[in-house]
């Protein structure tokens, strides 16, 4: 399919989300649409998929103009979309999800389940998307769920696939597997529109690259003609530091000390087992690992959101194992949580209120149980400037900010205290290049001010960029602590539970996920 977007314009009130956007996707092409959060990529895709309607401009498929009133019409014309937040019914099986809306039936609307299953099997062999048609979707790993989304689009005979930030939720291995699938779709003559803000991915998989900024197309190029720095500059509009230059640290005495720490989940299953870890003042330890290997629970146990079953936790010599969150905050622990919208912020409260969530009841923000609102607002105003939070003023609800600015609010609050130790879980997840740079810089500054920092990240780039030492977690245990200099391959291997480097790495990676569940 040859898709042309010609002069697409969309306004929301005074905001121009798409300003005369032109874009052409050739048949059998992987076309990357690159841009920061808020650049207008999602708006454009929603217009293309019939979820929004353009104020002006034209969509042409194979030269013929089309309009889509709803997603059903876009699907009919061969457009398939894999949404960033999967559109799958969690309790349905794979086959039911794939069939939904286009169900094979017999008489009286009776479902033909056998043919639905056969359809899934046929498509999955054809494109190497291995998945069990009878598996219940919510029990599948994220990477496999994404395959189901792709199968859904193929089942509807999509000739152009829109992938909206598909790698945001994937592990490095799953990402490689996805790229392999994308290449096989391309080989079958289908076009792919791949939306992302990750530069490495763009360069490794794209045929053409279109960059958007502030609702406009600011350039178009191909991987051979560009590099990460050039793309980042185009995307952000200024020079950005992709990998933070970090002076060597000057670690002092041990501040955060975990001894034989063991933690269970809600069902009583041990998820963190016998973890020993020491972090010194002025040092960043990056905890690497594939999601779901106990890092989240470890972080929750350290900040006090999850009980410790056995072992101990000390901060500057003080035993915190069984103390309250409040006590830990008082003792100098700061936390940038994994899910900022759930655990980091109260979205309906203002920026100023969110900035003092940890000290709303103490001076200067309260006196004799009465809050001092002007002190709160002054504090908010100061933070806006100091932390470069982009907002109209400190009184707007934090939920109206972009992801990057929300994270800056969390960082501003946590680093406002006298911090002895900082726990940062996935601190840059879902952030754009500019914000990532900023958050990284702040974390390094906290280290240089003498804090012990624990970074938990499933992004290898981040682990390597920030860590003074790298601890790797696998199945609840720390399998090793290494210098980041040992390289991506070694750490990647440790993340997968050790194993030996095999010949033909590429081949192994391609089958990632297919063999999920097997011991390496």
């Amino acid at each position: 399919m040859r898709l042309e977007l010609d002069g697409i314009t969309k306004r929301f009130g005074s905001l121009v989300a798409n300003d005369h956007v032109n874009l052409t996707v050739e048949p059998g092409e992987i076309h990357c649409l690159l841009g920061e959060n808020g650049a207008g990529k999602s708006t454009l895709m929603n217009i293309l998929f019939g979820l929004l309607h353009a104020d002006s401009g034209e969509i042409r498929i194979d030269g013929a103009p089309v309009t889509f009133a709803d997603p059903g019409e876009a699907i009919r014309d061969g457009i398939g979309m894999v949404h960033q937040h999967f559109m799958l019914v969690p309790v349905f099986t794979v086959a039911e999800n794939v069939a939904l809306g286009f169900e094979p039936t017999r008489r009286f609307g009776w479902l033909d389940r056998r043919s639905a299953r056969a359809q899934v099997r046929k498509l999955s062999t054809e494109f190497g998307l291995e998945v069990n048609p009878d598996a219940v979707v919510e029990t599948l790993p994220v990477g496999v769920q994404q395959r189901v989304e792709i199968l859904k689009a193929l089942h509807r005979d999509a000739r152009l696939l829109i992938l909206d930030e598909p790698t945001a939720v994937l592990t490095p291995q799953e990402t490689e597997a996805l790229f392999h699938i994308m290449r096989s779709l391309k080989a079958s003559g289908r076009s792919i529109l791949f939306i992302t803000h990750k530069l490495k991915e763009v360069l490794s998989v794209a045929d053409r690259i279109t960059v958007m900024r502030l609702g406009r197309v600011v350039g178009s190029t191909a991987p051979a003609q560009t590099d990460e720095e050039a793309l980042a500059t185009m995307m952000v509009g200024r020079n950005v530091e992709l990998v933070i230059t970090k002076p060597p640290g000057h670690p002092a005495g041990t501040v955060l000390q975990l001894e034989h720490l063991t933690v269970s989940d809600e069902r009583g299953v041990t998820v963190v087992e016998d973890v020993d870890l020491e972090i010194r003042a002025g040092e960043i330890v990056a905890l690497a690992g594939v999601q779901g290997n106990g890092q989240t629970e470890l972080a929750e146990a350290v900040v006090g959101l999850r009980p410790v079953r056995s072992g101990s936790l000390r901060l500057a010599g003080v035993d915190l194992t069984h103390t309250s969150v409040r006590q830990r905050i008082h003792d100098g622990l700061a936390d940038i949580p994994e899910d900022r919208q759930l655990d980091g912020l109260v979205l309906s409260l203002s920026i100023a209120e969110n900035l003092i969530l940890d000290q709303y009841d103490v001076a200067p923000f309260a006196h004799l149980g009465v809050r001092n609102l002007s002190a709160m607002r002054a504090n908010g105003d100061r933070a806006l400037n100091e932390f470069d939070i982009r907002a109209v003023n400190e009184n707007v609800p934090v939920g109206t900010l972009s992801g990057g600015n929300q994270q800056k609010v969390v960082v501003a609050r946590e680093l406002a205290r006298r911090v002895k130790a900082l726990i940062a879980s996935q601190p840059t997840r879902g952030l754009d290049v500019g914000s990532i740079e900023y958050v990284h810089r702040r974390i390094v500054e906290a280290r240089d001010d003498g804090a012990a920092v624990l970074i938990i990240s499933s992004e290898l780039d981040e682990v390597l960029a920030l860590g003074d030492r790298v601890a790797v977690m696998y199945r609840g245990r720390i399998v090793g602590i290494v210098d980041p200099g040992v390289g991506r391959e070694t750490i990647g291997l440790m993340m997968a539970g050790g194993g030996t480097p095999s010949a033909g790495n590429e081949g192994v990676t391609e089958h990632v996920g297919v063999s999920a569940g097997e011991e390496p």
Binding site: P71, V89, G101, W110, L460, L493, G499, T509, G513, A516
Partner: protein, 434 residues
């Protein structure tokens, strides 16, 4: 991009139990042990008050045959010996539960244990006299019927994502109009039709307010209940006091199914009932099949679980919700008709007595499945009919206290005493197109 080698590690230990918890009812082994201890506690009651405290010469006689079934001899049971025997069996079942390693099928075993207790209880109640076991079962079916309709109504609505608290009100409206129309025309079928229409009307009101305006479904539902109660009371006073002939409808007559109704004990209870009871059985099967085997059902469940996902494949979410809420009203209205023209005849003030809420509890207990709701409805129906039996036998328990029993069971069920259940993903969540 450098390649990271190795296979993806297995998800760290989501054990078998956890996976099942997502698809069905989650039962921890601790809860299973709790059930076992509970059964042993019941066994103690069976040995002491039901067994040893009863004079050894007393017997309970269960009448097991009633027309049109073939005649079988009465069951004569010495109270003390029977109770102690049943107590031993119940204790063994309890021990089995306590020592189990897997929780699979525990509810079935537990239900068996409680049945043993109920049997012993009946023997104790019937000591020194005779108890018509067949009519106890028949009454159970009759009392269960409206609850079955109500729970089916709930299933239809909630599977599409709308909470129907208004079942109670739809019951009342259906009961009232069915009585009025059947009295005026002398036609029970027309009465049932109008009962269904009354339910549909209140269903449409719920749908309109909660889907069009996104009003809170629970609040709207409760208001509809209050409104229906007030309205039927008002009309009862305005119309029926002056025209009592408009509130004396004919009732559906029992139809004995040839052959099947001759089965001893179960025959008269299940196969010698009226059209409204048979209607519940037919609806049960039809709704079950439609929900789980047809395209329509797949779409309804998708809308109830994840409406946005449904809409991105071209399914009209609101259209399905409107249809289902109104259909739910129809079914609840028929359930209402069961109160008047299905059994009792006359309409009385607040005659549904909260059974609409009990039906909702039955639906929850039945995990939002038609046949699950059936089991729960029969349990509630049995407890109601048992209460009325005990009243007749003149057992020394205050009758208002007994009358609370079915509701206590309901509270226990809703509080999750009998297991954690998971509602449809988008149950009660208003849908807005982005």
């Amino acid at each position: 991009m450098s390649v990271v080698t190795a296979t993806l590690p297995a998800d760290p230990g989501p054990d078998e139990q956890e996976i099942r918890s997502r698809t069905g009812r989650f039962v921890s082994l601790r809860r299973v042990r709790g059930m076992g201890i509970f059964l042993i506690g019941l066994a103690v009651i069976m040995v002491l008050p039901f067994g040893l405290k009863v004079p050894s010469n007393l017997s309970a006689i269960f009448t097991l045959s009633e027309p049109p079934s073939i005649t079988v001899p009465n069951l004569v049971q010495p109270v003390r010996a029977t109770s102690i025997g049943l107590a031993i069996a119940c204790a063994i079942v309890g021990v089995i539960l306590i020592t189990r390693k897997s929780s699979r099928g525990s509810y079935l075993i537990f239900s068996f244990g409680t049945l043993l207790f109920l049997w012993s209880f009946l023997v104790w109640v019937g000591r020194g006299t005779s108890l018509n076991f067949v009519s106890l079962l028949a009454e159970t079916v009759i009392y269960s019927t409206p609850i079955i309709y109500g729970s089916l109504s709930g299933v239809l609505c909630e599977r599409s994502g709308v909470i129907n608290i208004a079942i109670e009100g739809q019951f009342l409206a259906g009961a009232f109009l069915a009585s009025l129309v059947a009295s005026a025309t002398g036609d029970v079928w027309l009465g049932a039709l109008c009962g269904a229409a009354a339910g549909a009307l209140f269903g449409a009101l719920l749908a309109f307010l909660s889907l069009r305006y996104g009003a809170d479904q629970i609040i709207v539902g409760v208001l509809i209940d209050a409104f229906a109660l007030g309205l039927t009371n008002f009309l009862l006073q305005e119309i029926f006091t002056d025209h009592p002939n408009l509130n004396s409808p004919p009732v559906f007559t029992d139809i004995a199914i040839p052959g099947l109704s001759k089965i001893p004990v179960l025959g008269p209870a299940l196969f010698d009932q009226n059209a409204i009871v048979y209607g519940a059985a037919i609806l049960l099967v039809v709704i079950h099949l439609a929900l789980f085997r047809t395209r329509w059902g797949l779409r309804v469940r998708a809308v109830g679980e994840h409406p946005t996902a449904a809409s991105t494949v071209g399914i009209h979410v609101l259209q399905i919700r409107y249809t289902n809420v109104i259909l739910g009203g129809v079914v609840a209205g028929l359930g209402g008709a069961a109160f008047t023209i299905g059994s009792y005849g006359q309409f009385t003030s607040n005659m549904t007595a909260g059974l609409g809420f009990v039906a909702l509890a039955a639906m929850i207990f039945g995990r939002w499945r038609p046949f699950g709701g059936l089991g729960a409805a029969l349990l509630f129906g049995f407890s109601i009919s048992l209460v009325s039996f005990i009243g007749v036998l003149g057992v020394n328990i205050p009758s208002p206290l007994l009358a609370m029993a079915p509701y206590l069971i309901t509270i226990a069920v809703v509080a999750g005493l009998v297991g954690r259940v998971r509602p449809p993903g988008a149950d009660g969540v208003p849908y807005k197109r982005e």
